[in-house]
């Protein structure tokens, strides 16, 4: 497709949600008033995110799939000459899937929220914040300037903070505070690292810095800068032991907030590692990789054990919290893949990124639906003595939950499998100079982690989906249970794309790996064109 069209599409991805966000605060123009201001503004959200998704798909369609390693649709205009900050946008095989994922998940969230309005203050602000969040996330995947990346990275914090703080559940204010303080502390440290790279490297341009491949930076500079940047990104990813904001934030966040937090916000951390740390400070990446891998593996085991503890009967485990902890484990695989510094591992990490976004997004939607029906996400309350028997009472919902669970545990043939397998495969044969025995141990531990994941996911399925029809005491007949609505139309619309893509990515991984692999090869070898 025409280069200019591509450029405009990419710019529109960032600018449209921003404009839409401002427009959401204004009163609706005549002709678009709908059935009242609330409905009109929610519809506005669906329209804007829909247009953005269409633009993202058009961008992907026009993307030159023969050269995914080349930076495409580039725009490069000066913005602040004083600091040498340029508005530099571009997309390659690494960022394209994340852009589409973000646009898709936000659209589905807007659609879901349209039919199932989150309880809280005015929907106007909700839509404005949602669009602001989308703009920031898309921007962080599309920009190619370190300072703009930081700006976009920060831009998502305020909307997410307010989404949790105003539309969340119990304990929301504390959770929102924790979320924002943790991530801000991380990002300010990251800013120092980015500044160091930019000032010593002579430019903030990510393409130029990646092409230099760290040649302009002394070893000490690289070590200090990479430590600061990794610390900031690790909070976001989140890497054990910097993860403790995540379970609270997820538990308190509204359904849509959880979906976007897990689906796209966490990816900004791992994307930054691949885009910034690997190519710009390669020596430091080499030094820190074994430690990063160790933390990643601890995260995998820790996340799984925490989930197992929550899934036990009588533990009063919250289902949302459980999925949040499972995210810690899954992101551990992503970090392990990156820490192998091999094309296999990094490709696996990027694949697992997308897969986690699809699957965990679906799971959070499903848990939100459970909460709407039961009024709680407490596993013990849900399952009672014998199990919630979702298969019997709402078979489609139960089936979807089981699907999400087995996809999450990495069943071959679904999206969750490839990323984690490739990450472990990368650990089996890490980059030259990394200790092979250590990585073999990491691989073994990660494999053990997948077993634990399977265990808790199956426990969840057994407790939520299966179960007897309880016998009412004394009578010997089946007790009456309130009727449970099965999957509604809007839920079906919001979830089916995720299910379809999970199956598609599982059966045809080459579609995604073909995009990322050339770009990853080039990032590891020194730079982007």
């Amino acid at each position: 497709m025409n280069h200019t069209v591509q450029q405009l599409l990419l710019a529109a991805l960032v600018v449209l949600p921003l404009l839409g966000s401002a427009a959401a605060l204004l009163p609706a123009p005549p002709g678009l008033r709908g059935r009242g201001p609330d409905q009109a503004v929610m519809r506005h959200g669906v329209t804007v995110t829909g247009v953005v998704l269409a633009a993202a798909i058009a961008l992907a369609a026009g993307f030159d799939h023969d050269h995914p390693a080349r930076m495409q649709a580039q725009t490069d205009i000066g913005w602040i000459p004083a600091l040498d900050i340029r508005i530099h946008l571009g997309v390659d095989g690494v960022s394209l899937p994340l852009l589409v994922l973000t646009a898709l998940l936000t659209f589905l969230s807007a659609l879901y929220a349209y039919a199932n309005r989150p309880s809280g203050p005015s929907p106007k602000a909700f839509v404005a914040l949602l669009l602001l969040l989308e703009s920031g996330t898309l921007a962080s995947f599309a920009v190619l300037d370190l300072m703009l990346f930081f700006l976009a990275f920060e831009m998502v914090l305020i909307p997410m903070y307010f989404l949790i703080n105003r539309w969340g559940g119990a304990e929301r204010e504390r959770a929102a505070w924790r979320f924002i303080l943790y991530t801000l502390l991380g990002s300010v440290v990251m800013l120092l690292g980015l500044l160091l790279v930019g000032l010593k490297g002579g430019t903030f341009d990510m393409v130029a810095l990646a092409t230099d491949n760290g040649s302009g930076l002394s070893h000490t500079t690289q070590l200090i800068a990479a430590l600061a940047i990794i610390a900031g990104l690790a909070v976001k990813a989140p890497m054990w032991p910097l993860h403790s904001w995540l379970p609270d934030a997820h538990t308190a966040a509204p359904t849509v907030g959880s979906v976007l937090l897990a689906g796209v916000l966490l990816k900004m951390g791992t994307y930054g590692l691949v885009r910034i740390v690997l190519p710009m400070t390669p020596d430091a990446a080499h030094t820190y990789a074994p430690y990063l891998a160790a933390f990643a593996v601890v995260g995998i085991i820790y996340g799984s054990l925490a989930c197992l503890a929550l899934a036990r009967a009588g533990a009063k485990g919250d289902l949302k919290r459980l999925i949040a902890y499972s995210s810690v484990g899954h992101m551990g695989f992503v970090l392990l893949g990156i820490a192998t510094l091999t094309p296999t591992g990094v490709n696996g990490a990027l694949f697992a990124n997308i897969a986690h976004g699809l699957i965990t997004g679906l799971l959070f939607f499903l848990v939100g639906a459970l909460k709407d029906r039961y009024g709680t996400t407490d596993l013990d309350q849900l399952s009672g003595t014998s199990g919630a028997a979702l298969y019997g009472r709402a078979p489609r919902l139960g089936g979807l939950l089981a699907f999400g669970a087995v996809a999450s545990l990495g069943l071959p043939g679904l999206a969750g499998f490839w990323g984690e397998m490739l990450a472990m495969f990368g650990a089996f044969d890490p980059a030259d100079g990394l200790s092979r025995p250590a990585y073999l141990a990491y691989m073994a531990l990660a494999a053990f982690g997948t077993l634990l994941t399977a265990a808790y996911m199956l426990i969840v399925v057994r407790r939520v989906c299966m179960g007897d029809h309880p016998i009412a005491p004394g009578t010997g007949t089946e007790a009456e249970r309130p009727a449970l609505a099965d999957v509604h139309g809007h839920e079906f619309a919001a979830w089916s794309p995720l299910v379809a893509l999970t199956v598609l990515a599982g059966l045809w991984p080459a579609a995604l790996l073909g995009l990322t692999d050339p770009a990853v090869q080039q990032l590891l070898a020194g730079g982007t064109r």
């Binding site: 913005w79 203050p121 305020i158 307010f162 300010v188 500044l195 160091l196």
Partner: protein
């Protein structure tokens, strides 16, 4: 006349470049005009004085325009080495613009405060204009005597402004505190100036700089003491630790517009003085003042933020108190590039580092005035001005709440306050460039701490106000209800918000000062 006599006359009588000195002069003359007009205007026409003052300030700001074409100097020595007492270079023009613009916004804020607090109009406008004239003179001053005089012309009316609320115990106490600590600082500074004069034999900054490179070894201690004592005086004006204790009480006691004026113009005066003295007069003592200013910066921001964190939102005047402590913390950030200038390899680098302070000060001036403007607006309906009074402001006045949220996020340095973020980035990069890594880390931690209280206030704006637990005391004769709409106040908020948004879209407007040599 003999040729001899005419050359003598030429050496004694110098031609004054009136255009160069126009900005402070116009402000001072406008002040006198307002004072005289006050005598002849009937009571009900007094509000005309305010518009006169605003016109004077605008005229003074317009007088900057003809000076843009290049540096001008006047009041130069006619004999010996070339040295001038007044120079209108880029640095002076930018700070003069900041000062006059700040005074203009303060004037807009003051209309409703004058009405509400029943302040004497003529005196108020005269004092404001006089102080602005002194503040506008200072950045152009190039000798220590002019500097001290300008500093005092800027400060003395400020004492009176703080204490202008007649019969208010808090107000007079604040004025007294401010006065006593300020006078002490001035005395110390004069002692330092005299030491420097004794050691170098000159008051002109450029000649002091030259003389300090080869001080008589017997006078070396004297010169060092002079340098340190001179800096102490300016550190006081900037409210740097440990000279910051007067700030909260003074801000709370003063009428809100005066607090806004002190926080922006008062600080600008201190900073420009500090920059002139350190970079122009004492560059050879950079190894003395560089580390000292760095430590001062770290202490100031930490102390300011720690105190701001401890403010309880339900305490009376907590909003102004929080702004006061936050301004102390911001002063710490402003000091960082000056410290970095002390570590610069060349005068060029030092001048560039100082540019970061100027850029940051411009950003700070816009958003801090904006925040005070909204505080002044809220103070009209809830005089106690607690942070809890801001709860649900979005529901009551959406535009004001959005503006305040924007200003606070700019001060915090979070998007959408893009300009605040990038101003901080320039300060960070000045520190990193100068090799002051530890200071950058201290500042980073402080930025995060500061985010806590700025964000907490921002959240308060959007919280739905709880059903009033204690019914508001019904104001006597419906005073709050019948108060006329404050048009100038609204204009001030709109002006600062527009400036903040414009700067966020095009940060280059102020950040270009960070990349060019100003002095």
């Amino acid at each position: 006349m003999s040729p001899n006599a005419s050359s003598l006359a030429a050496s004694l009588v110098q031609s004054v470049d009136w255009l160069a000195v126009a900005p402070p002069t116009v402000a001072a003359l406008a002040g006198l005009a307002v004072l005289v007009a006050d005598l002849f205007l009937p009571e009900r026409r007094k509000h005309l004085l305010g518009w006169g003052a605003i016109a004077g300030l605008a005229l003074a700001a317009l007088a900057l325009l003809p000076l843009l074409d290049g540096d001008r100097s006047t009041f130069c020595l006619t004999t010996g080495a070339h040295a001038c007492s007044y120079t209108a270079d880029t640095f002076a023009l930018v700070i003069q613009f900041l000062v006059l613009g700040g005074a203009l916004v303060t004037a807009l804020l003051s209309f409703s405060a004058l009405d509400d607090l029943k302040l004497p109009a003529g005196e108020f406008w005269f004092l404001l204009l006089s102080s602005a004239a002194g503040a506008a003179l200072l950045p152009a001053a190039r000798d220590l005597a002019t500097l001290v005089i300008a500093l005092e012309v800027a400060s003395l009316p400020a004492f009176a402004l703080v204490g202008l609320r007649r019969g208010d115990r808090l107000s007079s106490e604040a004025a007294l505190k401010f006065f006593l600590s300020s006078v002490t600082a001035t005395a110390v500074m004069l002692l330092g100036v005299s030491f420097v004069y004794a050691a170098t034999g000159s008051l002109h900054l450029s000649r002091i700089a030259a003389a300090l490179t080869h001080v008589d070894p017997r006078l070396d201690t004297l010169a060092q003491a002079g340098v340190v004592l001179t800096l102490v005086g300016f550190a006081f004006k900037t409210a740097a630790v440990p000279f910051h204790f007067w700030v909260p009480d003074t801000y709370v006691g003063a009428p809100v517009p005066v607090a806004a004026y002190l926080s922006v113009v008062g600080k600008a005066v201190g900073f420009s003085g500090l920059i002139l003295v350190t970079v122009l007069a004492f560059p050879s003592y950079a190894d003395v003042w560089g580390p000292a200013v760095a430590v001062l910066a770290a202490l100031t921001m930490t102390a300011g933020n720690a105190a701001a964190l401890r403010q309880r939102p339900e305490r009376p005047f907590s909003a102004v108190r929080l702004l006061a402590w936050s301004s102390v913390a911001q002063a710490g950030y402003l000091l960082v590039p000056i410290a970095a200038a002390g570590y610069a390899d060349s005068g060029q680098d030092a001048s560039r580092a100082v540019g970061s302070t100027v850029a940051y000060a411009l950003m700070y001036a816009v958003v801090n005035l904006g925040a005070f403007a909204v505080a002044a607006l809220v103070a009209r309906t809830s005089p106690a001005n607690r942070i809890t009074d801001y709860r649900g402001l979005y529901a009551a006045r959406p535009a004001a709440a959005l503006a305040l949220g924007f200003f606070l996020l700019c001060l915090a340095g979070l998007p959408p306050g893009v300009i605040g973020l990038f101003a901080k980035v320039t300060v960070f990069s000045a520190a990193v460039d100068a090799g002051l890594g530890w200071l950058a880390v201290v500042m980073a931690l402080n930025v995060v701490v500061a985010l806590y209280y700025y964000l907490q206030w921002t959240t308060e704006l959007f919280r739905t106000s709880e059903p009033a637990a204690e019914p508001e005391p019904v104001p006597a004769a419906g005073a709050a209800v019948t108060r006329p709409r404050a048009v100038p106040l609204t204009v001030a908020i709109a002006l600062t918000a527009a400036a903040g948004i414009a700067l966020s879209g095009a940060p280059q407007l102020v950040l270009r000062f960070a990349s060019s040599a100003l002095l």
